[in-house]
């Protein structure tokens, strides 16, 4: 049993982390492509048409890996977390089924036409298909986040005679305030990923002196969307998310911050190592009063510490949770600075000549992926030891008929298969980037290159 729980947690953690590398780019890039398509439709300027086609090809590869790695996620609820599914399926099944019925049907119908069907559909309907994919991907995001929000902050349920959960208020469940804030925070983060990737490719072309027109378009769009989304991801959405955690999961906030002993006038730790056995932060740099202010809005507010809670309700891996949260918040701050600098240089008309900054922008694209992963680790580790906060412990949710060895076997299988998918993905995307956004007309024929 213990084995099954450990390997099932690792398998879900690994497959969801890997899977989410792809949808975050899908959700961020989709609206940037919609923007290019819209400009192309309005102005007829082929620069935008070429940009849309180039990014749609990368989008298609990314989307395919996202789809195939996404299917195992839904099925793992049943295979590995049968007790959890049985206990809460009537509630979380609603959003999981709605994701399939409302979002996946929309995305899956439109994606083929979006990537390969520009000529068949004509400009207007091809724009609509692209818009459909973008809407579908965000809808899907909302439904899955509403599912997660129920696990973080369960609302709208009642308990049936057999002890399992039943839906009591559909609107309460679907419009969970936690889901709304998490959705805004998460979608802004997806836009950060999308804009950093567009910026990085623009910087690459600018540095190599190739595709100058497209490089400048990518840099302009990427840094502008980047700055706006970087600011929004921190404030107000990240701030509100933290306040939500402070209010509903005070024990998680204490662990995220390494705040072992409760009190008033609480400081915010920037740097330091949590020493869990001694219950303190070693070698820290902190800002006085800041946590009280950020969590509750005034400098002297009382913030509960870990010692205000029984030990069996503490998150199970405090050190990892602390680091994940600090990596996310630290990277988020650096992103704002980097994008502010890039926009400042662009405003002065110097961006395409600032080689140092271009190098930084090009090499920065992996970091939003790290930040979103760390953010999700914060959310999921912070919820432990519960699978549904204060209702069901993670250990009670696992499938008891599945042996640990079976889960280890499938985990190894996923590791191998996903390694191959990763290599394939990088190879195909690198090939598209190497080829570049040269004029490919709508019917797929390459025009003579002027580069």
């Amino acid at each position: 049993m213990e084995d099954t729980l450990f390997w099932s947690r690792l398998q879900f953690g690994f497959t969801i982390t890997y899977h989410y590398l792809f949808p975050q780019l899908t959700m961020g890039l989709a609206w940037i492509i919609v923007f290019f398509k819209w400009k192309h439709l309005r102005t007829g300027d082929e620069r935008f048409g070429n940009a849309a086609r180039f990014w749609a090809r990368i989008f298609g590869i990314n989307f395919a890996v996202g789809v195939v790695t996404g299917i195992p996620m839904e099925f793992q609820f049943g295979t590995n977390w049968a007790a959890f599914s049985k206990f809460s399926g009537n509630i979380i099944g609603q959003t999981l089924a709605m994701e399939g019925m409302f979002a996946f049907f929309l995305e899956s119908a439109m994606i083929g036409a979006m990537v390969w069907g520009e000529k068949r559909l004509g400009p207007r309907n091809h724009f609509l298909a692209t818009l459909g994919v973008a809407l579908g991907s965000w809808l899907s995001g909302y439904f899955i986040l509403a599912t997660n929000a129920f696990m973080q902050h369960p609302v709208g349920y009642s308990t049936a005679v057999d002890g399992s959960l039943r839906l009591a208020s559909f609107s309460g469940f679907l419009l969970n305030p936690w889901a709304m804030i998490m959705f805004l925070h998460n979608q802004c983060a997806a836009l950060v990923t999308g804009s950093f990737v567009v910026t990085a490719v623009g910087a690459l072309y600018a540095l190599r002196g190739k595709h100058a027109e497209q490089a400048s378009l990518f840099l302009k769009t990427g840094t502008l969307v980047g700055l706006i989304s970087c600011v929004l991801v921190a404030f107000p959405t990240g701030d509100q998310q933290a306040k939500m955690v402070a209010q509903h999961q005070p024990v998680s906030l204490a662990a995220m911050e390494g705040h072992f002993h409760g009190g008033t006038n609480v400081e915010l730790n920037f740097i330091g190592q949590p020493n869990v056995s001694e219950e303190r932060i070693d070698n820290r740099i902190y800002m006085p009063y800041a946590l009280s202010f950020l969590a509750f809005g005034h400098l002297h507010a009382k913030v509960q510490g870990l010692d205000d809670f029984p030990k069996d309700e503490w998150p199970t891996n405090i050190a990892l949770l602390y680091y994940a949260f600090h990596i996310m918040a630290g990277l988020g701050t650096i992103f704002i600075l980097l994008m502010a600098l890039a926009n400042f240089q662009r405003w002065r008309g110097r961006l395409e000549k600032s080689r140092g900054l271009l190098w930084a922008l090009m090499l920065a694209f992996p970091f939003p992926y790290i930040a979103t992963t760390a953010g999700w680790m914060t959310a999921e580790l912070g919820r432990q030891p519960w699978i549904i906060f204060h209702i069901l412990r993670t250990g009670q949710g696992v499938s008891d008929v599945v042996s640990g060895g079976n889960v280890l076997f499938t985990l190894i299988g996923f590791t191998g298969l996903y390694f191959v998918l990763g290599v394939l993905f990088l190879f195909l995307v690198a090939r598209e980037i190497a080829h570049g956004p040269q004029s490919i007309s709508a019917d797929g024929k390459m025009e003579v290159s002027h580069d």
Partner: protein, 349 residues
């Protein structure tokens, strides 16, 4: 309410098997009906831009099963653990081979992905067939309503069974041939030239084998679960399903003999739908039959989610369904008629 949700789930399964059955069937025949690389690409073009829309019916089925019958989902998904992951991995490889296989024109790249595509489709057909066989035969449910299946035990369909025994293997072979026949029939409609001619010859032969195997599997089912046949007599929907099978078969054979290509495809879909409806109606209300003791079986009535949630879902489900069909029709109407090799290349340079 419970009957309605059982019917919706059956409907979603039918949609999945008919639509995805075409992709699987056409996919596994890729090397038989397509001899040159261009002909093989034609098979993938015929599957078209909506293969993932077809697959979403399975995802929708899983989610809907969770809403309506969470106990059944929990018991069966955990019980079929390893088989489920084989299914998922086959779906991953099949999807990836469709999406990336055409990206590069290099012959060895194409050959490798074509091979993966065919093998993944064969595996999918066998796994889906074996799963259906397991539902009909039953699984070793204990008194807690749980089971864990080995791939095989002693190949006997009684008592402590495994996933594979002589009965479920026969059903798997039957479904494999049925998918192949269904795929070949659809390829007749969607292609022209040599692929069309080979598919037509193949479809005519395969449907005859399907009918022979259907007789065999029916006889075997009568040996393994005789009570299903006596239980079927008072159920009009099961008879309706059987009428669908017969009309479907007639449409297939008359359609394939003359110029009725569309009629044959509709007949083929009706044949599969009729079989599933007859099967689903005759096992109802038992969703998972226990091979160990009949009182361990999981019934739809005792394992449905209660109350409010099902009413709510009955409001949003039809809306989502109509939207979904609308999206598919919007796309389908651009892809009507026979496919041509030159269209929609994935390899623009």
């Amino acid at each position: 309410m419970i009957e309605t949700w059982y019917a919706i789930l059956t409907f979603m399964l039918v949609m999945f098997l008919v639509l995805e059955g075409f992709d699987i069937g056409a996919g596994m025949l890729q090397h038989i009906v397509g001899k040159t690389e261009a002909e093989r690409r034609l098979v993938i073009a015929a599957i078209g831009p909506l293969w993932s829309w077809h697959e979403v019916w399975l995802v929708g089925f899983g989610g809907t099963l969770m809403v309506a019958f969470p106990n059944i989902l929990a018991s069966s998904f955990a019980g079929f653990y390893l088989a489920f992951f084989l299914l998922l991995w086959s779906l991953i490889l099949r999807g990836i081979s469709i999406e990336v296989g055409g990206h590069i024109g290099e012959p060895m790249w194409r050959t490798a992905w074509n091979f993966i595509f065919v093998v993944a489709n064969l595996l999918l057909a066998i796994l889906i067939g074996a799963a259906l066989g397991n539902i009909v035969r039953g699984v070793p449910l204990n008194a807690d309503g749980k089971f864990a299946l080995a791939f095989f035990t002693n190949f006997s369909p009684y008592g402590n069974v495994g996933i594979l025994d002589w009965f479920t293997v026969s059903v798997a072979v039957f479904m494999l041939v049925t998918f192949a026949a269904h795929g070949a029939t659809a390829l007749v409609l969607k292609t022209e030239g040599p692929v069309h001619d080979r598919s037509l010859r193949l479809a005519r032969r395969l449907w005859k084998i399907v009918l022979l195997l259907l007789a065999l599997v029916t006889f075997e089912t009568w040996r393994v679960r005789p009570e299903l046949f006596s239980g079927m007599t008072p159920k009009p929907i099961a008879w309706l399903g059987l009428v669908g099978v017969i009309i479907g078969a007639v449409m297939i054979f008359t359609g394939l003999r003359g110029k009725g290509e569309l009629r044959a495809v509709l007949g083929s879909s009706l044949f599969i739908a009729g079989l599933m409806i007859a099967g689903a109606a005759s096992v109802f209300p038992i969703m998972l039959h226990s091979t160990l003791a009949p009182e361990n079986s999981l019934s739809a009535y005792k394992n449905a989610a209660a109350g409010h949630g099902l009413v709510i879902a009955l409001i949003w489900w039809p809306i989502a369904f109509i939207l979904s069909i609308g999206y598919a029709l919007f796309i389908y109407h651009y892809y009507l008629g026979k496919v041509k090799a030159s269209e929609d290349t994935q390899n623009p340079y």
